[in-house]
């Protein structure tokens, strides 16, 4: 049969699939999604509530939960940067100089990655399908079935992913900045919940049509029904559900239309004004531009200066070099910190992320009633602390990941690694800058919350509860998340793999916490373990909270020490140099002390 599809589109599609086959991240996603299916099967609510694990109802319920928990972040991981990648590695001129139309390029890129994403998501459905063959005591399993899994997977997961994937792809391609996409998907949860509240008053048919994940399907019908009734229920797609899916496909098409128009504008603009960024929104990292002869040594006077300089070479002065000792290490660290900070300051995604965090915080405070317990300030602080945690998790994972891999991607790494700077200078400067960013976001949210409190006239206005809440609850959590993310990037060495594993671990912990597994020893963010009153009124519970924070700070420092030990750049194999302990030996000693600290504080927590 003759292939009627455009060959360039097929070529771009195949290249994307092949490229993804060589990456670790898709395989990591497959494992995570399969493990997720096993988790839902073994520890989900089916057994407790008498639901059959392969009933129509439970399959839909399962896909809904899977979509909500994993979809936004993992879709962003796969769909945000396919085009950015081409520009980053510099293959774009080779592609755009071929007779490939933009529509073919964009669709090939999108569907190549979307296909891989759907294959990864299918692992969840296939694992759930395969688990029909097994059962545990008390588990209800109906006769094996195949079609409902495929049908509902396509209807509930694939179509929703298509819309969200198109949004991520469009935003990523137009802004050329993955962090903006990550910021948007993190805010997805807040926006989704806010949207559900907004449409709550509408008739059920409209709530179904306007629900991007079809969460409202049959919610009223299923409420209070017995397990037996639900197990016999068959899910048929009515007109409203189909209208919703058509709407989602329409959203995707609108995204493609915007992308096609804007992307072509951006490319045309790039050829005429290359010194400007290729992005129409001007949010992309600063692009390199061709050097303008009039600016430098190419002009006649400059050339004369060059010739003069060649005739009389300037002597390079002798300088005092100090690379050993605490002072030298500190000076190198400050230098690295300064550069990291400059790079962060030039990071244009913050233009979107910072206002987004403030907006979400303000919306939450405006939409929900704050209980003055023990005071309004404490209530405002605790409410924003909980919602900010997800953003801070995103910042820790993505900004730390980008910082850790920036040197390699910008190809400055060999030059930096050949300098006599100790590993802690390179590693801790990135850690500290990410921490600084998170702290700045906390400060922004504090100001926003305080502003909303003032606006609402909820007196008294006390900064104390804010400081206590953010200082005790958020700050150590941020330290842990950033340290864990930095360590993860060192251990795994592959950015996207580190993202996938970090998101899976974070999501898993969050899920377990929601299920009641929130013991102090494995709850780094203190989720559901504190109330505003604990922090304000003090007492034994506050002491326990403080011990918990020390415990997690010790683990954070331990992770950093391990990251230093496993850092890819090797400096020494030995523990002693000229009779003195080497940096490696000091790091091992510090790690041992931190293990001891964690064990002691852990025992106190258990006791």
């Amino acid at each position: 049969m003759k292939n009627t599809l455009s060959p360039p589109l097929i070529a771009v599609f195949q290249a994307e699939v092949l490229f993804n086959l060589k990456r670790v991240a898709p395989y990591a996603l497959m494992v995570i999604f399969s493990a997720n299916a096993v988790l839902w099967w073994a520890r989900g609510p089916a057994i407790v509530r008498g639901w059959a694990v392969n009933s129509d109802f439970y399959i839909v319920w399962l896909f809904g939960g899977f979509s909500f928990m994993t979809m936004p972040l993992f879709i962003a991981l796969m769909m945000a940067d396919p085009v950015i990648r081409d520009f980053r590695i510099g293959i774009d001129p080779l592609i755009f100089s071929k007779p490939v139309r933009r529509i073919e390029y964009l669709l090939g890129k999108f569907f190549g990655n979307f296909f891989v994403l759907v294959c990864c998501q299918a692992c969840f459905a296939l694992t759930a399908l395969g688990l029909q063959a097994f059962s545990t005591p008390g588990m209800i399993v109906l006769s094996p079935r195949l079609f409902p899994y495929l049908q509902h997977f396509f209807f509930f997961v694939v179509v929703s992913s298509l819309a969200l994937g198109a949004i991520c792809f469009t935003v990523g391609t137009l802004t050329r900045n993955v962090k903006i996409v990550y910021g948007l998907v993190i805010s997805f949860y807040f926006l989704f919940i806010a949207w559900q509240y907004t449409i709550k008053g509408l008739p059920i048919r409209w709530r179904i049509v306007l629900d991007p994940m079809l969460f409202n399907v049959g919610a009223e019908v299923w409420k209070g029904r017995s397990g037996d009734w639900l197990n016999q229920t068959t899910i048929d797609y009515d007109g409203y559900m189909i209208a919703n899916r058509i709407l989602m496909i329409g959203v995707s098409l609108v995204c493609f239309a915007i992308l096609y128009n804007r992307f072509s504008s951006a490319e045309r603009a790039r050829t005429t004004a290359r010194e400007n960024t290729a992005s129409i929104f001007n949010l992309a990292p600063r692009m390199e531009r061709l050097y303008n002869e009039s600016e430098g040594s190419g002009t006649a006077p400059a050339r004369q200066a060059v010739e003069a300089a060649t005739e009389k070479p300037a002597a390079i002065p002798q300088v005092k070099i100090i690379t050993q000792g605490l002072r030298a290490g500190f000076d190198q660290f400050i230098a690295a910190l300064g550069v990291e900070f400059r790079l962060l300051r030039a990071e244009r995604s913050l233009i979107v992320v910072a206002p987004l965090v403030m907006l979400v915080c303000a919306l939450e405070l405006a939409a929900f009633e704050v209980v003055p317990e023990p005071s309004y300030s404490a209530g405002y602080a605790s409410r924003t602390a909980n919602s900010l945690l997800l953003f801070l998790f995103g910042v820790a994972v993505f900004y730390a990941g980008e910082a850790m891999h920036r040197d390699r991607e910008s190809r400055i790494e060999p030059v930096l690694w050949a300098t006599p700077a100790p590993n802690f200078v390179l590693l801790l400067s990135k850690f500290s800058t990410t921490l600084l960013l998170s702290t700045s976001l906390i400060a922004l949210v504090a100001l926003t919350a305080f502003g909303v409190q003032l606006y609402k006239g909820h007196a008294p206005f006390e900064p104390g509860p804010y400081l206590k809440t953010y200082g005790v609850v958020l700050a150590p959590s941020v330290v842990f998340m950033t340290a864990a993310s930095a360590a993860m990037n060192v251990f795994l060495r592959e950015k996207y793999l580190a993202y996938a594993v970090s998101l899976a671990l974070g999501g898993g912990l969050y899920y377990l916490t929601g299920q009641g597994y929130n013991h102090w020893l494995y709850n780094p963010a203190l989720l559901n373990l504190w109330t505003p009153s604990d922090l304000v009124s003090g007492g034994p519970h506050l002491t326990r909270i403080l011990v918990h924070r020390v415990y997690w700070l010790a683990i954070s420092a331990l992770l950093l020490a391990l990251a230093l030990l496993f850092f890819e750049r090797k400096s020494t194999r030995v523990l002693k140099v000229r009779g003195r302990l080497s940096g490696k030996a000091w790091t091992i000693l510090a790690a041992l002390v931190l293990v001891l600290t964690a064990i002691i504080t852990g025992f106190i927590l258990v006791a």
Binding site: E275, P285, M287, Y291, I316, Q332, V339, R342, P414, T572
Partner: protein, 294 residues
């Protein structure tokens, strides 16, 4: 100054990049010449402490570059084949950063050093411009400026002139000659023969992870004097010549092909005339030999 003994490196893919390199490099500019894939960059990375060899030793004035990496980095200036810079930093900020990482702690000394380096590489005019806007040549000059920070005893430059225009290349050669002194080794890795013939006092030729030759450019030329022959033939005759003689190079010239042949046994055929040997002839005569000949 630089001593390399039995250096071996095999990558996880099974590619044997270095098959036991032995080399003694004196002070001055030393050229390491070899075709792409010869193992030059692997050797440079090991010398720059970025890659662990499987076995072997590397030492510069007694400092063990394999086991004392931090000590090695204190005496090292490195310009990799491909490198990037933070595009948002200016030339001055970039050099200041590297100077501090290399231990130039005194602010005034650092400022003087940066000023001199920028002047030395002719970037003073653009010192406050972000390097993201620099041309390839400017970036390369900034790269060499950072390699000169900290009075390095060994400067490793890997394929430094690729992408430079003739004027830039000439300037770069002059700079390398000037910085190499009695106490400094400049190790220039390249596949461009003219780079070596212009600036290097001594050279080595590497192919498939092995050193084929160690010589000075003058001695190399002397070795092939009277062995290089040249003729001009129609293009269709070239394959036949290649089967009969050891052709070391062919070049199109006025719609015909100028063929250079290596022959130790006198004039290969009537049509050939003696040619003045070049370093390129020497290099090509070595790298074009079958491996078993070595």
């Amino acid at each position: 100054m630089l001593e390399i003994k039995g250096l071996k490196k095999t990558y996880a893919s099974g590619v044997q990049a270095l098959k036991g390199i032995d080399l003694e490099v004196p002070a001055g500019v030393f050229g390491l010449l070899g075709p792409n894939g010869a193992g030059k960059t692997t050797l440079m990375k090991i010398l720059a402490t970025l890659l662990e060899p499987d076995s072997g030793e590397v030492a510069v004035t007694g400092v063990d570059f394999i086991n004392q990496k931090m000590a090695a980095r204190r005496m090292l200036g490195y310009l990799p084949q491909e490198f990037g810079l933070y595009p948002t930093l200016t030339a001055e900020q970039t050099l200041a950063y590297f100077a501090r990482l290399k231990g130039v702690m005194d602010g005034k000394e650092r400022a003087r050093l940066i000023e001199a380096l920028l002047e030395r590489v002719n970037l003073s005019d653009v010192r406050r411009q972000a390097v993201g806007g620099f041309s390839g040549g400017m970036r390369q000059r900034l790269g060499i400026a950072q390699a000169l920070i900290g009075q390095p005893r060994i400067i490793i430059v890997d394929e430094p002139t690729a992408g430079l225009d003739p004027e830039e290349r000439n300037r770069f050669h002059n700079l390398l000659s000037e910085i190499a002194g009695e106490a400094t080794v400049v190790l220039l890795s390249t596949h461009i023969v003219s780079d070596v013939s212009t600036v290097c006092g001594q050279m080595s030729i590497i192919r498939r992870g092995e050193i084929l030759a160690f010589s000075t450019p003058q001695a190399a030329l002397a070795q092939i004097a009277n062995f290089v022959w040249e003729t001009t033939v129609p293009r269709e005759d070239v394959p036949a010549l290649k089967t009969r003689f050891r052709v070391i190079s062919t070049r199109m010239f006025d719609c015909r092909v100028r063929v250079r042949v290596f022959s130790r046994d006198g004039r290969p055929a009537e049509a050939f005339s003696p040619a003045t040997p070049t370093l390129e002839d020497y290099y090509l005569s070595l790298v074009s030999q079958p491996e078993s000949v070595n």
